[in-house]
Amino acid sequence: MSLKNVLAVALGIFAAIGGFVDIGDLVFNTQAGAIFGFQLLWVVVVGVVGIIVYSEMCGRVSAVAKRPVFDLVRERAGFAAGLGTLVASEVVNLMTCAAEIGGVALCLKLLSGLPYRLLIPLAVIGLAVSCWVLPFRWIERVFGYLGLGLLVFVVAAIKLHPDWGQVAHGFVPGSHSGGSLLVYLYFVVGILGTAMSPYEVYFYSSGVVEDRWSLKDLGLNKVTAIIGYALGGTLSMALMIVAALLFLPSGISPQFLGTPALAAEHTVGQVGLLLALVGILFAVGGAAIETSFSGAYNLAQFFGWKWGKKERPAAASRFTLSWLVIFALASLVVITGYDPVKLTEYSVIFSVVALPPTYLPILLVANDRTYMGASVNGKLANFFGVLYFIVIVAIAVAAIPLMLLTHGGQG
């Protein structure tokens, strides 16, 4: 693989670090590990394969049809249904963006000791300036590669010497212990929801257009989706393993963003703590950018505005204004004092409800020869596509009842 291609994989790493290991992932995976030990590791694998299947599909659609997901959602679903999907996805994007901004401010607080309320506007200004000044590829690289500080959790997981036989057992779904069946199912839905968030595919497919991928980049698309999300999945599993080994025996139920960093600190020391906090800062910051951009992409693509970071802000003024407004609204939400961790839990569960209308048009278009020509879905892609769509519909139906019945996973 050439250096150019290695850098190109940054899109996948960025999507994976920011999308897969965002605040939702940090919260749900550590909580799941602290309650159920290794028993939910299989869900991470299911989520990783699902997001790889659909990201590859929507990357291929965007590279071949030269049109991103939301453009196709409106065309395939029609104006009314498309508008419904747009509203749902914008609400989820805003909630997620608010949670991520709160996460950035919390992380900065743990690093600097400055007041949280002061750090919220500073975090938003920092993110907005990065988005304004940096080209798309550099946003990917800076946030993607600095987010790799999260790899300290893989080191921590290994250093804690887990019983690998028991870890392997966690990859097989089966009976559970440690919490009730409903709480177990709530975490299954939450982990799948955070793995397959709609904003990830919106961002990924728009990123493919931003990066000007074409037919010749289909191989790169596949590699990027597989490497990026597999890496994200590895980090998620490491978080769950660390929580299972360190928090479960002490009865610690993680409810702060700083708690996962405590695991890195305990295992690796001060360097581990700093790597974890920097990794979380850039992963969560990257996710904040992804959600605000996803919101702006969706609006621009739905209403047919000029869009993209490749355009000058003045040339794509409505698109630029959209992501700035999303940042501003999200910061207003967190500045009210609502706990970002709690907000994350809600945004993940609500995003699960928005999954079917997001993924169905991708599946339909990827099967349409008029758009895709020879690059139409093969049998394997269709098998997994349909299988995952059934899973998505099932968890979308179960998400809110489970949240209510388990009091947000508290039992």
Binding site: L111, S250, I252, G269, G272, H407
Partner: protein, 205 residues
Amino acid sequence: MARKHGLTLAEIGDWKEKFLLGAENALRSKHLDEEALKDEQIKRLQPTPRGRRSSAPSRERWSVSVHLKGALVLGVVVAVFGVGCGGAGKLGVKALSQESKSLQSLAAEGALLAEDAVFGKTTRVYTREHSSDLYNAVSQAEASLKAAKTEPALEPKLRRLAVLAAQVRADLNRLGGASKEEERAIGRELQAAAQESQQISEELK
């Protein structure tokens, strides 16, 4: 709509009142028990100084269906966003066990942080900030435990938990600016508090 389902407006009005009262109570940080709710309702129904009932006449212009829709929306909002809200009403065995588990978690996390501080694994800023987050959470738990009521048989456990919460809060308050020796002592105290909370929660099973 009432006629269609063979109901009177008064019946629907009564349901609505009960629903709104319940929703209003759910939004309180400290839930009222049934008796307190009844007292509040009586107070509300008593004449105001002008000799008029407190319900404004303009509200009567609203149709019943609007009220019901409003109540439904309010109910959904309360149900969804009230999911994680804890209250300080009458605690049963399950709720008390939940409180003790939560206290155990906070104390154990504080103990882990203190241990890392002793061994120089952490930064001064992180210790101060994270212990402050834990302190805030324990303070809330302590306040709700102190305000809570429970069955007579569970009273001693509730009191013990409230005392433990106060100890944990005080330890976490000191942790941020403690010397090495103090950190060691705080770690031990927090560990002991975590174990005692765990014991209480096991006794409640």
